[in-house]
Symmetry: C3
Subunit: 426 residues, 3 copies
């Protein structure tokens, strides 16, 4: 009823104040949700799973990103391929299951049949003028970063993925994801906008008050603090922690395991951050006793005590690589108010449940932490719907990486929805 | 955020390519759904039920078409009338039940009372200047084609209903619907746009792979094939089937039962198609043993072995008339993604369940087939939501009647939503 | 697809015909629902509860009005304060419970802490330039009318609340709400637009046919009738009732209890109506035996037989004050098709359940009546969705106060959404 131009996407993007949370429509508006899907999730590299999701030829996994259904398949030459999950005849969805194994991809409707390379190899009654070669499956860009699978729905994907991959491969390779299996997968639908889920992940200011399980293996000082608020004892502990990090980095890198911080959260199209951090207690894993949950050490790691490699990618993933297991998270927006958090726990492919690892122990910390975070995300989503909500200030000591997430988001949205469109490739 | 004019209804209608499925917004857009309801379901003759739904005076059945609630009532002179189901006082819905029997139509709110002719006959406290005669129920056009009830919400309904009725009455009359009863009714909500439900009905290319029950009584060659794909044996069978159809038509018509194909699917406002086709096996009925399900033969039919009269109307019905029973289907759109398929099985009014017919046997083939079709419709709906969906080619041998459904739809939409509106009446 | 300007809010408001129900979009359109929330529920005094909701310091109750969540708190000086329920840091909802008791208001996310006066008294890690005094809770206007709590979300609330309060305080004060407790609260989600719920409340034309319980204590003639429809006996009864009302008013006012009708339903921004009316039978209470449900008489009332004071406020409340208890109703819109009706039954704070009152007897009449009204509202909502709905005439004898509700609504909408905005304050 009023002139809404002041709440147009363009003006909202233009007037964002660095250091502050986003304005409410970024969390609540269905129109901005659609704009996010278009500019962010259909233009960037999206983390969707791991090679162990499709270990053998004919293994298929389907992933939905917004209105897109994608099928990822291991082909007969052990390559990993991705296609749009839509028959070229009447448009039926081809694969209905989340995971299955097939010989060929056969549409249930009229039996049109595609091989694992996406070619249409069978279609009855179509007449003599019909050209099968024009009716193959539409392919989707897919890349494996040492076993982590990223897809891109754009015609021309961002090229800086290669630079990121070159830096990150040596960090990840020693954990050898291709030699792991998925011990457990959990899907949690969080009652909030995907950006609130991401913002929640990018800081640990909230950990002390909300995550009794997660704060057992994590060091509190690793996530920032206001130096002027520390008393003498705390200052001493903080300094000791800083020395520990430096010493561990030196040790691990001497063993050939890259560990130092890499940070390109808001200065690359394919933004990322990584750092290997020491763990408290026994220093082995994200468990309640801080010891390895699985007896089979991963890949070529030289020790059980490798801390945890934290690896984040924009817009939708984070990962923790320990000596004994990997926990890997992807966030898929569902609508303005709901997001899917998909968590996978990977252990060595030869580890046997009940013998080499106890499942409850393996997944306990993050099952609890995910639910706590989901509740917090829900409180923020409710708050953002209130007309009284206004952007609040991020802590300069503990929330600067949340701010970088928002910076990246605003930049990428401006590139696509701003006055002059710049494709993500550029 | 983008200029959407290329996805406007006008351009979508204008650029439809014959021989191909419709573009995705026709299946998914709420705006086009609203346009469909306005141009198709509020302007054309819509099949809604049968006279045996309201056999006695005071019998009422309610039908919802989009936002309209319609009540159909048998009046005291055995006429069938239809009204909008809205009280003229405060607008309350008058009849809440799907089926009931009344003396007068009384609003629960303030007891305003209408007789079966729709006149307001009682309203308290309205003052001396109130004129009851201005506050009768609003009537809706209704026609009975030998017991099949069609309503039209337009002020001036399409006039070519009469032409269709004149041709079809001799086909239908011998089955004497007015002397049947409804043995069973089933409502199925299909997870797809109403046009996908209709398209699914207009071909049997999918039957072999999906309908093990339905393909028992049906001859496969009756639904088209690519001649160049037949081997010698198949060619011989196809020719034998063609001869059988010709022979049966001649026989049945000699008995006074019209049977030959009538086809006006896309060249009339009230589009339709009819043909009596032989059945496989015993040739009597749509049952798993191909024999009559009910012992009481319908109407004035001369034999148990009358094949099945297939009668289709645009936009929303199909019917199978056998010697022993009738199965009749109406499709009512619910939203862009959901449609109600209402199926009624009619048997002779004197047939007794458990004596003259076994209900499971009567309804088994179509209960199974409807669910199979509903699943297929759902797969197509999911596919159409994908940005990767693009219109695919219809088979020139097996899907030409689907194409005619789309042709009719596009024509009728252009007549209403195109540059110059033409009312359906013209 | 069509030009919708004829259904714009401005033209709908301008062309409303007095004496008739509103046009359908006022009941069904999400856009008009949003306009209602803005012009009506965010600009006027909204009844939300009673002081006994928060009897002690630190008691908090939360109320949602559209997208706003409000917390109402009893402070340490026994004042009642209202705030927006949104943390000023990351925007999380502060209080999740509908009722709770707190020392301070602490956000679960990062432990930001506000005192009961709304000041931010604790926030870690925010750096040296952070100014707590700029980050207190946002307050909301709140007024207590002898214990009835009204809030206003506007910056400058309507000033005529004071005039209404001055007139009404002497009517309400003798029942002494502050010395009551909430014996029972019931939330009912009605399947209709909030205006249908209000219109239903503003007449009793429907009571005879729908409310067998409520019509026991109420006199039928108290709610209007067409004089020309009365027979001689009815005319005599109606005259006797009119005399009874006059006599009771005189008696009650002689005892110092204001009782005569006050009516400003459509000539004030803060519209209201009040009248104390006799009750049938024993004349004591809204119960099935018309006797007091609670043995402890309220406040300073001189007799058990005080009839029932009916007090209505625009846009969203009505209240019945009897000698032994109060029933108080607030209506909160949820969406265009759903409304929350919140009913509270108040008895003397010293009354003991099972000793001084039987809960079933206390709440029975209105629990039944609310459900009956909710059903009627639902029938009207369904009716209003039909394109065949058109505004119908109100009875000039029994529905003139419904008409005044609509008059008030249209005036207030025009003041905000009309060509020249007038704030509710003026």
């Amino acid at each position: 009823m009023l002139d809404r131009s002041e709440s147009s996407l363009a003006s909202l993007l233009a007037r964002r104040i660095p250091g502050y949370t986003l304005e409410a429509p970024f969390y609540t508006s269905p129109e901005i949700f659609a704009a996010d899907m278009e500019a962010i999730f259909e233009q960037h590299w999206i983390y969707v799973g791991v090679e162990p999701d499709v270990p053998e030829p004919g293994d298929v996994v389907t992933v939905d990103i917004g209105r897109n259904s994608i099928l990822i398949v291991r082909d007969d030459d052990m390559g990993v391929r991705a296609y749009h999950n839509v028959c070229r005849h009447r448009g039926a969805r081809l694969v209905l299951e989340e995971k299955t194994t097939v010989g060929n991809l056969v549409c249930r409707y009229h039996s049109w049949t595609y091989n694992l390379e996406g070619d249409l190899i069978h279609a009855e009654h179509m007449g003599e003028n019909f050209d099968r070669s024009c009716h193959g499956l539409k392919s989707v860009h897919i890349r494996s970063l040492e076993g982590l699978l990223f897809i891109c729905l754009a015609e021309e994907p961002p090229e800086d993925f290669d630079g990121m991959a070159a830096v990150m491969a040596p960090y990840i390779a020693p954990h050898n994801i291709r030699e792991t299996k998925i011990a457990y997968q959990h899907d949690l639908i969080e009652p909030g906008n995907w950006k609130l889920t991401m913002e929640n992940n990018r800081e640990c200011y909230h950990c002390g008050a909300n995550h009794p399980e997660l704060t057992v293996p994590l060091f509190a000082y690793g996530f920032g603090f206001a130096p002027e608020e520390l008393d003498d004892l705390e200052r001493e502990q903080a300094e000791r922690y800083a020395c520990l990090v430096t010493a561990e980095h030196t040790d691990w890198e001497r063993m050939g395991i890259p560990s130092r911080c890499q940070e390109h959260l808001d200065d690359m199209v394919t933004g990322y951050r990584a750092e290997r951090l020491p763990l408290d207690g026994a220093g082995e894993s994200h468990t309640l006793d801080t010891r390895a949950a699985s007896k089979k050490r991963l890949g070529s790691l030289p020790s059980d005590k490798m801390g945890a490699l934290h690896f984040w990618t924009q817009p939708n993933s984070w990962h923790h690589f320990m000596g004994d297991h990997v926990v890997t998270f992807s966030v898929i927006p569902l609508d303005a108010n709901h997001s899917l958090l998909r968590t996978k726990w990977l252990v060595h492919k030869d580890a046997v449940e009940g013998v080499d690892y106890d499942l409850e122990n393996l997944i306990g910390v993050w099952m609890a932490t995910n639910q706590q975070d989901s509740d917090l995300v829900g409180y923020c989503q409710k708050g953002a719907t209130s007309p009284a909500y206004q952007p609040g200030p991020y802590s300069p000591h503990t929330e600067m990486l949340v701010d970088k997430f928002c910076n990246w988001y605003i930049k990428r949205m401006l590139a696509w929805h701003g006055p002059t469109r710049v494709t993500a490739k550029a």
